[in-house]
Homo-oligomer: 269 residues x 4
């Protein structure tokens, strides 16, 4: 009986099972998330006291629903990872990326009851919960492919970001030494100058800080051109990642190789 | 006799038939479109009453020509889709992308006769009708290839845009909470702050709004770097799409596979 | 005797022959071009009358040398294209891209003698003559490859630029109608508004014009995101072009195919 | 005995040997480098005299450690390049990229003892020494791959940068002639105008200088669009480089080809 109920609940909340009640459950949760996002944005406007009372009501209801959902997911985690013991399966689930997001989405509501810190702005992270939309529609494969590319190429992307970090430090210290004497406000110290380096390297170029000396302009030119490279390298890495996966899929198709849809291991023909 | 006239008209307005009178017809229509675009732009200048009267005259003549052309296209739609019944063929044509554009291009002229709304600015959508230029010249294949890449990769591009959307929402709410106290005018609410998020993520960086606090600059730095990724991911997707099509064409060439030029289905050797 | 002199001169000015005197000749011409570019830039500064007199002297000497070189190249053009008759070879050479640049580089000096127009600024096009540097060093292949990619993909790149053109026209007219009432100076007419559309689509974002109304900001957001696509599409096209050429070279290597180094035609094994 | 000590020291300072003491040594050096970078940045702030005294102390200790390390590396260079004679091996090491960086990182401290020039800002180049982090972790391969792509495609990247250089010169001289009469301050000479050309071509667009005449805006439009190409071409080159290396690795795997991990030469099966 206990197992039966647990099984039913698991099928309800686990989107990949794909039955109708599960889909309706997902649509309700997603609607509630969207409503909450609208609320978080709406709260930044000046609204009447009545409206704010309604907002608070919706917030309380949402958090209760999200909390129950979270507890149910933790409870049924041993059915999600049947290969582990119950405790280990639950711990594994609690520390998974999506579960942590779920927790961060409700925790800001309970925290002020314990410690007097207002972290309610973190509620906006509920937006990330919308990624579960990809689990119930035809974009699943497309989104999985993009995530796969980033996982495959993580080491290369981090390496290129590391080099960019070094570049920003060098550019900031050099630029501070060049410009701080003529523009002591805009380039007040090397940390402040990093703001210029970031705006230039990413080619955003707000225009709030820019060099005015000849030496500063030459350095900015070099940094701006390296900024071009900064777009080119990750683009190259990511593109190669997409091409690689597509080629692999095509080869597998030719050689009639199939993978287990559950664990991803290669299957014997 | 009726069928004969219809056939002649269809051959005249359908560019893919490629006979001379059809080409002349296309050149006339395209010239009229270009003339109309120049007029729409010219109307934004201060012009004399005489000039405005001439413009109105050209506009009336254009709309009459475009209306007749539109009606003829609807009438001959059953020859474009011979596989459907006459009514279904016409409905299918009316709701096709290019036919809707054609309708939007003439409707703003007739609407004020019925309801008093001035939608004449929509006439500029006649510009889209210029895409038919690709039907009469040697760029047909190139344009078709670009359109093909976007169709093939639509799911991936939409997925990446969805993630960008989430990013903009998160960035805006966080940035509003960081900057609104020191810059209440520029960051007056979360929706206004989205304007900053868009300018930063797309690396446009107009410079009308930018953070001035340390926390705001750190958040802006993260967003600007994610903006690099925002260029890299669609570029990777689109590049992989181009490479894929080119490789497919090459393989088909090798294996001597041909496709029906009309419906795109594979042909037996 | 006449043929002998012509042969010697041709070997001297034609860089691909690769003998030492020819290389010295190239170095002299390139040095003179660089000297001229420095002069054109230097002239934009306030300089003393003496300096200006020296500059004019160098200019006169340069033009004389370039003119003689140009005439010699036209004279020996029949040795460059031995397959054509003398007159046709010379006409073909005169209307080649590099020869037209050579002509434009010297013509501004002679024109004022005939018609009183000051086109001396066109002298800066002598910069393009520096491309001949690629003919005398190890970057020949690399530069040829880049040029090849642009030639191969010209139709696709032009198609994408055409779509961008339509986009700019639509965006400008719509934005003019949205913003001109509140910012009549910045968005004074649809042509002026194009300046905003270009700055946004290319993500340059100078920040001299930007929308301030909600509708304007929404339109600008759409345009800025399409700007991302505007980088992605040509990048995809060009990348596919590079990959294609590299794969072709590799396959040719495998299949032991060689091309004539002079005309580029496939050679029998 | 002398050889024994030298061998021990070499194993200590050479990270690729991978024993524990060598790793501890690396961690100490890297920590010292990071401490120094923090110091260089901290020095740009207004700090108390006590703090500055502490900083100077750390600086002196660091330079002593770095100097000893540098001398030991030069001394043991003949074990790094066993194929060369001792003197040649040391000279080869001294003029390697990383050794020159090491020298530049300590030289600014000693130079003022000899000649009175303050080059202490060059200490920031110690940041580059952090690249050795890639030698002790799992990102070695990823970083090596990125470096490999740049080496393989150096000729093409330099060629495209050369064309960009010509473009900047032409754009600057033309723009100077167009805008200098109406904006003599912003476009005071062709060199100053290059600052505008760089900001536009790299799409940074600070907004401190921009054309206001119609002709200037048309030229800026052309340059901004060429700027798109400027991102596209290096991206295409670099992407092709990544794809090429990945394909090569895959083919080698298929054909069971192995390379010597020390010199990179192909090994017989």
């Amino acid at each position: 009986m206990y197992q039966k109920i647990k099984q039913t609940i698991f099928q309800l909340i686990e989107p990949s099972k794909g039955n109708l009640t599960s889909k309706i459950f997902d649509v309700i949760i997603i609607s509630l998330i969207i409503l909450n996002i609208i609320l978080v944005i709406a709260e930044t406007f000046d609204v009447s006291d009545t409206a704010r009372a309604v907002m608070n009501g919706v917030e309380v209801v949402s958090v209760i629903v999200f909390t129950i959902e979270y507890l149910l997911r933790v409870w049924t985690a041993d059915m999600l990872y049947p290969q582990y013991r119950a405790v280990k399966a639950r711990l594994k689930y609690i520390f998974s990326f999506m579960a942590l997001i779920d927790l961060i989405a409700i925790l800001p509501f309970y925290l002020p009851l314990i410690i007097p810190i207002d972290l309610r702005v973190l509620r906006i992270l509920r937006v990330i919960r919308l990624l579960r939309i990809f689990k119930i529609n035809r974009y699943t494969h497309a989104f999985g492919l993009i995530a796969q590319v980033f996982r495959n190429k993580a080491a290369q992307l981090i390496s290129s970001m590391f080099v960019v970090g070094l570049l920003i430090i060098i550019a900031s210290v050099l630029m501070y030494n060049i410009e701080s004497t003529v523009q002591p406000d805009a380039f007040s110290n090397a940390l402040e100058t990093m703001w210029w380096a970031v705006a230039t390297l990413t080619t955003v170029g707000y225009g709030d800080v820019y060099p005015i000396t000849a030496a500063g302009k030459i350095l900015a030119t070099i940094i701006a051109f390296l900024g071009i490279g900064m777009v080119a390298v990750p683009t190259g890495i990511i593109t190669a990642g997409f091409t690689e996966i597509i080629n692999k899929e095509k080869e597998d198709e030719k050689e009639d190789i199939h993978y287990c849809p559950h664990c991803g291991h290669k299957l014997d023909k």
